[in-house]
Amino acid sequence: MMHQTIKRDGVETIGNPHLSLEGINKKYGLVEVISNLNLEVRKGELIALLGPSGCGKTTTLRMIAGLIAPSAGKIAVGGRDVTHIAPHGRDMGLVFQSYALFPHMTVAKNVAFGLEMRGLSRADIANKVAKALSMVQLEHLAERKPRELSGGQQQRVALARALVIEPSILLLDEPLSNLDAKLRDEMRTQIRDIQQQLGITTVFVTHDQVEALSMCDRIVVMKGGLIEQVGTPHEIYERPATPFVASFVGRTNRVKGKRTADGCIRIGSSMIRSATPAGQDDVVVMVRPHRIHIDWNATSTEQDETANRTAAVLSRITFIGDVIQYHFDVDGSEFIVEESTKKSQSSHRHGDKAVLSWSVEDTLVFGADQ
């Protein structure tokens, strides 16, 4: 969006990347868990590897850290090939999902470990440890053992320990998944702030789309060892490249349709249009639930250039607090529509008729076999 991207052999490249993965392959026996992965990360960028469990995101992170070796391909940091360099020579800070603090050392000793390995003087170490601990607001717990800390505090120690060595790349492996919801929100902001403040290139592994969307500059959506799409949170959400991305990031309606001769799409007896042309006859139509407008009183379903309209019958209502979900039946296909709740909710009942309308721009069309 802000940076120029060049397409080369179908691979998105950026000028002078800080971290680059080229043709990375990882096989366990005959099972290929990562296939031909290409990725470039800019200096100072926070990039998320997003996907369901088993998609290869953690494997990719561990290969960047050097904890596992790729079966093929090249990993470079700042132009230096690190593919065959042992983890202790890579200069990366890794925060584990389980934090992996040294249980026999105090908080201060944990944070000091990486500095001691680098042979810094005692005074320098004490100084840097104090700074790192104050950055995560844990100065007062320096002499505690990890087991005496709460999950959130352990998480911050792990972050301070990874950052104090001023690594060339910060790697975060699901760092927030063991925290409760409220703490997770806090830590999200805190990690993003620290990352921005230090300008450190960061790779963030997560299965949580909200974390990826809210914290990261770019998102890499992965599935089955392959990259589905790389883009800014906005691009990923508004212009998903595949049906998987559309349904994994944000919620979406998914309805089967058929392409007609004039380029429209038939869903039951309704004809709709899309901004993106369908590539094949059998298609899947996707519309985000909150992008659909319900007109309870309208009867006309006449289409125009910018909006799709279709008659629908209300089949179910689900109240979720912030939003209310209306389940509609459109010629046998289900459409879910979400509206923000209000105090004085107008009451609708099963069987009520309405006209649903949504923008042609919001209509995503994919081939049915994708």
């Binding site: 850290a65 050097g66 904890l67 042992a86 983890p87 202790h88 020579g89 890579r90 200069d91 990366m92 800070g93 890794l94 584990f96 389980s98 992996a100 603090l101 040294f102 249980p103 026999h104 470990f113 990486g114 390995m117 680098r118 320990r161 990874a162 060595i165 790697l171």
Partner: protein
């Protein structure tokens, strides 16, 4: 609290009845222990204050002569120190050869781990006597080990009927106990923690020294306690492999009780072994507190 976890009918959930069941279940083993162990130990303690008469006679008395005699006799002082030193040496040797195996087993998984664990335990299925004879055959003057050393052009050392033989035999015999104790104490060793050390810039050696070793100390302490206690009280292997030339506490107790028939002295030596056990246990709990603290 405990009663609530059992699905007992209403009325049976009285704390007093569960306490009653606990007493009933523990009573048999408590009785066996009291009659079979605690009582004889008191007997032994009493015996050590009796007076030994020439020819194996025992005179009822209450004299500390056995104890003072023991502690003034340079032979016995040396015997005690020698026993402790040999046992510590055996414990150290057992630890050194068992540690890598235990670490590997800790990291192995699935059927491979089960197979290897069975392999480690399997020597315990054979009696120590049989295994000791096996070692005698291996380490004998013209045995396979000596032949291999000779074929490499070296003068084979004496490995049988001396302390070397006792150390080799007991080390092998105690290995399964050491490996199992180590594995039991490796619970805190999380592979992720080792990985964290590596990513923070620690070489494999420094990762071992700063992270793996400290985290496996509880296992090391447990294994060392067990092997020290087992080796200082072992009798068959030192007797057979020492060939009567290696003098240790256990063999001396046997000689005094069966050969010389000086039961009060044998009892005194036995009590001494018990005191050494107590000391080892005290050291162990102190070390454990240090590690955990």
């Amino acid at each position: 609290m405990t009663t609530a976890t059992f699905d007992m009918p209403v009325g049976a959930q009285k704390p007093s009845s569960t306490a009653g069941i606990a007493v009933a279940l523990l009573l048999p083993i408590a009785l066996v222990n009291a009659i079979g162990f605690i009582l004889p130990v008191f007997n032994l303690a009493r015996m050590s204050f009796n007076e030994a008469l020439p020819g194996g006679g025992i005179a009822e008395a209450f004299t500390a002569a056995n104890w003072t005699g023991l502690l003034q006799d340079s032979f016995y002082i040396e015997l005690i120190l020698n026993s402790i030193m040999v046992s510590l040496g055996i414990t150290l040797a057992t630890l050194l050869v068992s540690y890598p195996i235990a670490l590997y087993l800790h990291r192995a998984s699935g059927a491979w781990r089960t197979f290897l664990t069975v392999l480690v335990i399997s020597p315990l299925l054979t009696s120590a006597v049989v295994r000791t004879y096996g070692w005698i055959a291996l380490l004998a003057e013209q045995g396979p080990v000596a032949n291999v050393i000779a074929s490499m052009g070296f003068q084979p050392p004496r490995m049988m009927f001396n302390t070397t033989g006792v150390v080799i035999g007991l080390t092998e015999i105690l290995m399964p106990y050491m490996i199992l104790s180590l594995m039991a104490g490796f619970g805190r060793l999380d592979p992720k923690v080792e990985e964290a050390a590596r990513t923070l810039g620690a070489t494999p050696f420094r990762t071992f020294w700063r992270v793996i070793l400290p985290l496996t100390l509880p296992g090391i302490a447990l294994g060392c306690l067990l092997c020290f206690v087992l080796s200082i009280s072992s009798f068959i292997t030192p007797k057979l492999m020492g060939g009567g030339r290696v003098f240790l506490l256990a063999t001396e107790i046997y000689d005094q009780a069966i050969v010389t028939l000086n039961w009060p002295l044998a009892a005194t030596l036995s009590m001494l072994v018990l005191i050494i056990f107590g000391a080892a246990l005290a050291v162990y709990s102190r070390v454990l507190r240090m590690i955990e603290g």
